[in-house]
Assembly symmetry: C2
Homo-oligomer: 302 residues x 2
């Protein structure tokens, strides 16, 4: 299961009731922070998220509403006595920015802080362990911008408990069976793995795409993703503004979702010019059925 | 009258219910913003303060809890279509920091942004017009830090309405009389100014001192100030921590207030380690009677 907490999902500046972009993604025991607009640390506290669980932060681009909360968060980690490594992934320039702000205050972190600066124009792998991968999704915005694709790796096969018990197989062989091997019994009889196991859960995936103009060439990258967050700053009626500012309309976000055959589309990064965000959902659903609206504090499980 | 709105007054990092340092000072039709911790723009909105009324921002020092809200505020001014000049006063380095953050996002302001960097070790005048002056108060903290002293200038003398009417003096002479001049009537009789006017209201003043270790040599600078905000991060029982981190205790803040013979002492910048901020007031009042506690959202009129 993937759990997504929306910490902020409005365009531009923080307001009393809305926050700029930040999301917390829980996937395979990781807590990944995606973007970090001003006020993100307060949002994390509101949602009672343990700061020490966050070890990787992924920043899409260097507009203030996506990273002006980062210097404060990095400082807070120090004040909380963090000793674990922190990894920040983001566009070139992010290291200089954070480093400079800390140095101006004659302070530094007491934990190891690693910057992983991204400059690639194509999709690249930026994180991998035995359970998940994170790849960039090159986007088209006014500055260099990447979305991120978080994917679970295919898990081990699951034990078919009744079959394993039937053959009285010792527990020491379970890991071998889960990894797909056949088993030879003491009787010299070989039991094929397919009889002893069932398929693992299908790996899940989450694609984060903000901010970007309509960019159909991301479709192959995010094909069949379980859930897609795609910005929809404007409605179709303001398509000209979307083009001018390199943002997307709800209709365009839905078109990407449909073409990529994703499971669920989550919209966000709404301009505050609209009276109701329901308008975004209505517009998107004309193209793609399974649409949800990001709202500050909302939690999605995929 | 001077009006002070506390936007944030806690030490270190923003939390769900407390904000780092920021204050709005209304004096002689100015709205001066003093320090700008993360989340200040949300606090300004909460208090329904017109962003366009703020033309001067005074930053005490470059620790995050005193200026990490500044890049966002500067960006928001642009988004709100500001066209008036904005002046930022603060330690050397502030220009490079803000400039760099805006340039990273390939953005700039559409209004004129002026930085006034301060490097002086003694008290210097940083702003003056016909109604007010602003001077620095050199403080002693882990990085270069200045407090600010805001002073009303002495106003014109006030007309003694009955006397002016008694001599049937024409209105065209009122401004001359207010400026202290005697008046010669058509009868050649000279009326002395003291008969025609009364003393103007005493000019008021406000001293902002955060963050600092106990520094008695600021006493002559802030002597007889109407109101003094002085940080009190710790209680006397944690005096060793105050010395180590170059902060003050409530007792030390009160000692400064007493020695400077100020009218009112406002405490703030509390460490979040204490259960109740009333403890700071109790401790300070053992030294100086007229003590008030800053709290986020509180408004003082002096």
């Amino acid at each position: 299961m993937i759990k997504l907490t929306i910490l902020g999902c409005y365009a531009a500046t923080p307001r009393t009731l809305t926050n700029p972009t930040a999301q917390l993604l829980e996937i395979k025991n990781h807590m990944f922070l995606i973007d970090c607009g001003e006020g993100t640390q307060v949002q994390l506290r509101k949602h009672k998220i343990k700061f020490s669980r966050i070890n990787h932060i992924f920043i899409s681009h260097l507009h203030g509403d996506h990273f002006f909360g980062l210097p404060g968060l990095v400082s807070t980690f120090r004040l909380l006595g963090r000793d674990k490594e922190l990894h920040i992934h983001g566009p070139k320039g992010i290291k200089e920015a954070i480093t400079m702000l800390l140095k101006l205050g004659d302070s530094w972190t007491n934990y190891n802080l690693y910057f992983h600066e991204i400059t690639a124009k194509e999709s690249v792998l930026v994180y991998e362990d035995d359970k998940v991968t994170v790849e960039t999704i090159p986007l088209n915005h006014r500055v260099y911008t990447n979305g991120y694709l978080f994917k679970e790796k295919k898990g081990l096969r699951k034990l078919h408990v009744e079959a394993v018990e039937k053959y009285k197989i010792d527990k020491v062989y379970y890991q071998k069976i889960k990894s797909g091997k056949d088993i030879t019994l003491d009787t010299r009889e070989t039991i094929s793995n397919s009889e002893l196991t069932i398929d693992p859960d299908a790996p899940k995936s989450y694609a984060f795409c903000s901010d970007t103009a309509y960019k159909p060439d991301i479709v192959p990258i995010i094909k069949n993703t379980t859930a897609l967050y795609h910005e929809s700053t404007f409605l179709h009626t303001q398509e000209d503004l979307a083009v001018k500012t390199k943002h997307s309309t709800a209709k365009e976000a839905a078109t990407i979702a449909k073409d990529a055959e994703v499971g669920t589309l989550v919209l966000g990064h709404y301009s505050t010019r609209y009276k109701s965000i329901e308008l975004f959902k209505t517009e998107a659903q004309e193209v793609f059925a399974n649409v949800h609206l990001a709202e500050d504090g909302k939690v999605f499980e995929f």
